[in-house]
Symmetry: C2
Subunit: 191 residues, 2 copies
DNA sequence: ATTGTTATATAACAAATGTTATAGAAAGAA
DNA sequence: TTCTTTCTATAACATTTGTTATATAACAAT
């Protein structure tokens, strides 16, 4: 029988996850992970065929953390607003993860950027409760809300702007309401 | 007297600039540049003490291109709108440059992200012409406009969303007007 | 205790990349 | 022409990083 493994798959993933969180993807490599684990690189390559493999599994964990952020607050009083705030808070708490998920060419498409992948129609319907718009109109309006939300998130992820939680809440909340006000008015004028 | 240099400083900068434009900063290195120039790496290190040095000079050129984008259209009928459209168009035409300038920790601060560095008070005053807000109010409103503009630009730079020029014009134009409408209304209600 | 299996450490290899030592070639000055 | 300067190519060195070969050691079944 073989010896009991000292470095489990999960442990390696967890340490890599933490390293990326603290220092970003570019600064992570096999020896760096091994050092953190207090071992050689062998346990890593014994558990994962390549580094790419390991990073891929870590990305799954990162995506799960993101989902967790988005999902929580869905039973609050203002679920639609909370999704946006959570998206931004994820960028505040995990800027390196946000960059990986939403500031690269990979892993992205328009659907998932607007969260349709995570929440499906739910997000549109929650939006409707706030705005009172029709489903199709809400879909259009949601794009605008989401672009704005994404803008804030990118800015905090790159540390270009450092907003407090309160400032973010106020900026997002007031702007969305103002956008809605104007959206409704311009809709009326079209008729 | 020395032989006439075949590879001028400017040529090296230009080739590196083009390489970054086409393939991004990460894929550029001394041998890659040399290959493009059809020479060895010597001309590079003869003209620049380090690669960092060269990249720094290329970044200056990149920033100049950005400024050129922002400046043109300043004698159009709608200068304030044009600045935003130019910012986004820069992200469309030079996504790799946009990432370097505005999607990294380096080289950025809140001032320059809102273009105060390039245009100073001018941008606020041009905004006032459109919105009719006071200088202080316009400064607050400008943040919202700029976050939205930056959001679109980040999305096109990462190719998450591919908008046509017309779509961008419409999305930015309509949203800013709607935001303004709502901003003015909420301002009235405060009184 | 012996043995088979496999986790781990050591050390090395290979590729990529920044950088530099060396020597030859070019071009005008003498 | 010869000399001096300096541009360029070749080749090498150093470092970083992914990956692997080898040997050792742990562990449980026998």
């Amino acid at each position: 029988m073989p010896p009991i493994p000292k470095f489990q798959r999960e442990t390696i993933i967890e340490v890599t996850y933490q390293l990326i969180k603290e220092e970003g993807l570019e600064r992570v490599n096999a020896r760096r992970i091994a050092k953190e684990l207090g071992c050689s690189v062998q346990p890593i390559f014994h558990n994962f065929s390549t580094m790419e493999d390991l990073i891929h599994e870590v990305n799954t964990k990162i995506y799960a953390k993101y989902k967790e952020y988005i999902m929580r607050g869905q039973n609050s009083e203002m679920p639609y607003k909370q999704i946006g705030l959570s998206y931004i808070q994820f960028a505040v708490d995990y800027p390196e993860f946000f960059k990986i998920l939403f500031m690269k060419e990979t892993m992205l498409d328009a659907e998932n950027f607007m969260m349709a992948d995570v929440l499906g129609d739910h997000i549109i319907k929650e939006g409707q409760k706030l705005t009172g718009l029709s489903y199709e109109e809400q879909k259009k309006f949601h794009i605008k809300v989401w672009v704005f939300t994404h803008g804030i998130a990118c800015l905090v992820a790159t540390k270009t702007i450092r907003f407090s939680k309160e400032e973010i809440d106020k900026l997002l909340g007031s702007t969305v309401l103002e956008m809605l006000e104007g959206y409704k008015k311009s809709r009326e004028e079209k008729k």
